[in-house]
Symmetry: C2
Subunit: 157 residues, 2 copies
């Protein structure tokens, strides 16, 4: 099962890029993984919130194929513990999922048309995090989840 | 009201130190804030889990004074939204709190004797985060909470 992280916006923030890359690289021990940074057009700020979300939705749709199982990170999604996440990954792999995509939305969240296509909606926390920090949390949690599955020491540290 | 972050363990991890320091520095716009990194003795790893927590508890107790209102970050604590956290900070300030201390425990969590002294127990998320990442999340959330209180743009970005 391939893991992909799709994130609307800019490249990783330099202040945490190293940490994001470190966890992403550790995931490679367990699975093929890659980041897809979906950059929005430079005049996006001139668009209304609705139009901005719609134009992001178009970019996301273009990237979806038959193999994609989409997990949207969404504040109204279901919360999971790290153990739940590990179980979730195992179940997805067991079901023959080819490409599991975790999607971090843009400044205004994810367009409803994409949320409707997402197989799962996941809320990291009741807290609101900046998108860049969500990237770091996501990479760390997926690494942690694999380490739980493989019963490695990391989760117990 | 002074804000202090107490954290058991090593100095900030170089890969996220800049980001922790950036948010800490932004908090200074609203409140006096400082980190207290409480380092454990080098032979701590030789101690049992219980003894390690007890020796950490001693170091924490030494630092507590009459002004300290302790918020323990604890997986069994109460979850808050960022808005709840903003309200919480305002209430604490309104009640005349002099020093609000957020405590991040050591590798095995926080000793029960300290949890008993904590006025509040706060769980960031159902997810388990590494201690270093908890520091970054904490600094960002306190900054966000102040920005919510002051109705600044940050939270809506």
């Amino acid at each position: 099962m391939k893991i992909e992280f799709w994130s609307i916006g800019k490249q990783h923030d330099p202040s945490i890029r190293e940490a994001i890359e470190e966890y992403t690289s550790r995931i490679k021990k367990y699975a093929t993984v890659k980041w897809e940074i979906i950059s929005v057009s430079k005049n996006a700020n001139a668009l209304s919130e609705i139009d901005q979300k719609k134009s992001e939705a178009k970019l996301i749709l273009e990237r979806m194929d038959r193999d994609t199982v989409l997990v949207a990170l969404d504040e109204y999604g279901k919360e999971m513990s790290s153990i739940n996440l590990a179980t979730f990954l195992t179940q997805k792999a067991d079901m023959g999922t080819k490409k599991l995509v975790f999607l971090i939305g843009g400044a205004f969240g994810i367009d409803q048309s994409i949320l409707d296509k997402a197989k799962h909606k996941w809320s990291l926390s009741k807290l609101t995090f900046p998108h860049q920090l969500v990237r770091l949390i996501l990479a760390e949690q997926i690494y942690r989840a694999f380490s739980i599955t493989k019963n490695e020491k990391y989760h117990h540290q």
